[in-house]
Structure formats: structure tokens, C-alpha cells
Amino acid sequence: MKNFSFDLAISLIAGIFVCLIILPIFALFTATSLSELACQFRSPMVLSSVLISLETSLAVVFLSLCLGIPVAYLLAMKDFKGKRILDTLVDLPVSMPPLVAGLALLILLGGNSKFGKLLSCYGIDLIFSKKGIIIAQLFVSIPFLIKSTKDAFESINKNVINASLTLGASRFYTFKTILLPLAKNGIYTGIIMTWARALGEFGATSMVAGCIPFRTETMTVAIYQNAMSGELSASIAVALLLLVFSFTLLLVFKLRVRVHAR
């Protein structure tokens, strides 16, 4: 009897959780008509925000791979002074409110800072540009790739790496032929998480790049702007697209993991 009550309580709690996720999504789907949605999907503003989001988030994924994998390797494989500090720095953007991150980037890259001026001298203007969006998204989303890849590297048996070295492989060849293939699931997870986080980024992006339609207006910024200006159906259209992206990303990831687990 006690077991039954416990199971019932757990099921009820799980039910509350499901409602918490499903109900808002359901509300989003039923808030407007299909014809209105179809019309919004064809609007230049919506298409522009989708393109900007895809362009910047894919650039973020690429940069995350270039920067994140070496950092993950360093943290997983090497012992050095300041390792804990670096590890904490990797976690910092996750725990930092995105608005704070955006403000920090705005101050650093803005025209009033020395760094911003230096960049301007070389014709690089990051504020209110797509490059600024990429920097902001990279700042908040790269930790996901680093952490996931680091965990994957750490899970590899050290003797497998040593075996490669004793067979005559250099550290780079071992990295290329042993570590990367064995860590690929962790890297894929990192890519998905980073991409999803970059797509959903709002706070830091809007601080650094502003909300300029057709220039720096990402999907999340478009949702906010349209909702605030009473264009609810446009806002819903972009939100639904974002939802479909996120859901598809997660689904693809989970299917990949299942296939690999077999």
C-alpha cells in the first residue's frame, strides 16, 4: 500500500512537470490561426531574423569547436598551475546572468574602451553588428561545448592514449586518431547544446548588438520586439520556428546517442 502511494505521488509530480512544459507550448500553438502563421512565415522580417540566427549560431558552433576543443583537451589531459581557475572561468558564463555578460562585452568592445578603439582603428566594429552577436553568443554558449568535450576526454582510458604513444604516435597524431574519434559523442552533445544555447540567446545579444531589424535582429530578439510592439502573431511565428529548431536538435541528438549505444 505504501509503495502504491509512493508511486502515485511520484507520478503526480511527474504529471505537474509535464504540464509545466506542455501547457505553454500548447498555448503558443493555439494562440493564432494557421493562415496567419503561414502569412508571418513569409514575412521578410521573420525570414531575416531566422537567417541572422542561423548564420550567427552556426558561426558560434564553428568558433566553439576551434576554441573549445583545445581548452577541453588542456583541462582534461594536462596538469598545470591555474587549472582550477581556468575550469572555474569556463563555468562562469553559465552562471553569469546574460545581461551582465552583455554589459561586460558592451563596455569592452564599445567605442569608449581602449580595446574597442583599437579594434575600430583596424576597421573592426563589433557593437551593433552580426560580429557582436557572434561574440555575445559565443561568450554564453562555449562552456557547454568545453564541458561536454572535457568530460568525454576524461572518460577515455589513459592507457589507450599511452598505448598510442608507445606504438610510436606523436601527441598530435594520438589526438587526431584516438582522442577525437573516442570523444565524438561528447563533442556532438557539446555542439547541440552550444547551438541550442546560441539560438536561444537574448540578453547578451540584445545588449551588444541591439535590436536593429534586418541587421542584428535574431529570432529571440524578434520575438521580444514583436511581442512588445503588439505584433503577437509575428512573435508567435518566430517562437514556433525556434521551438521546432530546438525540438529537432534534441531529437536528432537523442536518436544519434541511441543508435550509437546499440
Binding site: A163, T166, A169
Partner: protein, 390 residues
Amino acid sequence: MGIILKGISKSYDGRAVLENLNLEINQGEFHVLLGVSGGGKTTTLSVIAGLIKPDSGSVFIGTRDVSDLSPDKRKIGFVFQNHALFPHLSVFENIAYGLRLRKITEKEIKRKVDYYLNGVSIAKEKDKFPSQLSGGQKQRVALARALVIEPEVLLMDEPMNSLDSMTKETVLDELKNIQQKIGVTTVYVTHDQAEAAFFGDRVSVLNNGKVDQIDSPVGLFRHPRTEFVARFVGVKNILKVSPIKINNNEIIVLIKNEGLERPIKIRVKKYPVFEIDKEINLCIHPEKIILKKKNKVPENEIPDTGLNRIYGKIINITDFGNVLKVTININGMEMYATIPKNLFNFNIYENVWVCFATNAPHPLCGKKCRAPASERRCLNNSNFAPLNGG
């Protein structure tokens, strides 16, 4: 190629794992590093391989000083604990991995891999992945992968650990045959004295980062030099004795082990190292002990001739197949006997006579006074009269 380790020391967080380790391994020798976990065996192997950089000391492979070379330049083959196969590569690709780095033709790679696949009897499994292999098959792949690059030395770190006893026996036979056939200098790490006895041309016993004894497996068992080595090779009966009377061929000693309620007198064959009142450790191999039923012989009386007899009580009996390992409590001191099952007719907690010949106890000096006459060494540095027999 032989291997020379000179003054190797290595510490982790202030804890010394290797302390001024010196070791010479001859060309073509099968050398076993034997010891308990944490004794420094794997660290020694990793230092030879270049996977760990020692705090001080040098490593030579043949005449080459490899101390500053990275593992990929040392020309070694390494068989790791739990095999460490590349899980994402097939058996063929695992074995071919080292060859591909040597930039030889695909045809030559195939020829060499096939040769070793056949050599370790896993040719049929060449397209499988490590997860599809049994423990014994993985072991063979690991061995073939290490040998195919034709290393100057082969290093093996407890490779039989994960194998069941039947597979282990087969793989041990195969490994010994292969090693003898190709004659590569091999360093084999194990904590299993049976493996050491099976393989080793010579065995080094490592204790707390130092070599306690280097000897042949037989020498190690017969002439342990320290209490650690004696206990490690299964000679658990260590008697701390003080000689009190020296006769022509034998001496009377008092056993003064810790925990013993009162000293016990026994007769021991005379060895040159004995001096009156100078304490020394003796060991008695458990199979040299005979148990006899309690009779009317008074307690602890030393018979004039024949066996020593000490009164004790059986407190534990452990079954090891054909033999039983029996623990006897003697006035607070424990002694151990290995008795063939068919000769054992005692019960637990039965009082018995623990009997052993005067030549059963042997000094822990590592000198070969029990070996055949040609091998005796302790006579050379002694003023005592020669002994009869070994």
C-alpha cells in the same frame, strides 16, 4: 637490447614511489617485476616506457640513453593492464596502428599483421571490434599490437589480471612460447608469484620503491633475503630467533616473536651467519611443517634427535584444492602449514604437535646455503666450519 635503470627516483606529492632504483636487465631476458600494489612496479615500467618522467636517474635501452626521449622514440612495445585496445578500431586496424606510423606499404602492413594474427591465433577475429572479443582474445590482440612493430623491448603491465584461470593458463603458455621464439627483452609486471615463477628468467621483488631482491624464481623462493620477500613468496612463517648454544652441526635458538607468551627453544641446522645472542630472522616454508596428533611428549621439550616439536592449536583451515592451508596458534604466535588433503586428519581447534626438521628453518640472508653444493655462497664469507648438505 638490455635495459639499465640508474638511480631512478620518483615522488608524488612528497611520497616516494621509487627510491634510487638500480636495475640491469639482460638482453633477451624475461624479467619479472614482482610486488604488492603500490610497490612501484607500474611506475618502473612507465619510466622505462617514457610515460612518466623520473625526478632523477637515467634509463638506457641497449647503449642508447633514452632518458630524455618521448615514448614514441624509445622503440618499445607495451601491453597494458586491461589491454587498452583502441575501441573504435577493428582488430586488424589495432594491430596495424603502429605500422601505419612507420610509413610502410599497405601490402607490407597486411603481411605483417596477418603474420602476427596467425601467431597469436586470432586471424578469424580480424574484422571484429574489441567489444566483440573475449578477454583472452583481447589479450592476444594487445600482444600482437605490441610485437608487430618489432620493439627492442617488450613491457607488460599485469596483462593477465582480467583473465579467468583457464584462459590465463593458455595465454601464459602462448606468451612464453612467443617470447622465447623472438627473444625480445621483456619486463613483466605482476603481483602473482605463480606467474613470476612461470615466466621469469629473473625476478625483482619491489617493496616501497626499492628492489628487495633480484634472483631466479627458485632462488627467490628458496632463499628469500628479507621478511617482505619471504612473506610475498608465501613463506609466512618468520621466526625471530636468538642463538643460545652452538654445537658442531646445529645450534639451539630461542624463538622470540612478538605476541609469543614465552620464548620457545628449537634446534636449527648451523649456518655461518649465526652468532650467539645475535637476533636473526628464520623462515620455514609451510610445506616443511608436519602436524602430528597430540601425544605424551611434554610441551616444548626439544627431542635429542629428529624433528622439532612445538605444541599448538589449529585455528583455521583453508581449502586450496589439493592442499589445505592450516593456521596454528602457538602461545600467541601463528604458524602456517601446507598439508596435502589426503594426509590431513585433524579438526579445527584440535591441539597438535607442529613438527619440522632442524634444517627446515632457514636464515633470511638471501644466500644460497640451501642450494646444491656448487651454488653455495655463504661459506665464502664465514669463519664457521663447512656444513653438510644444502
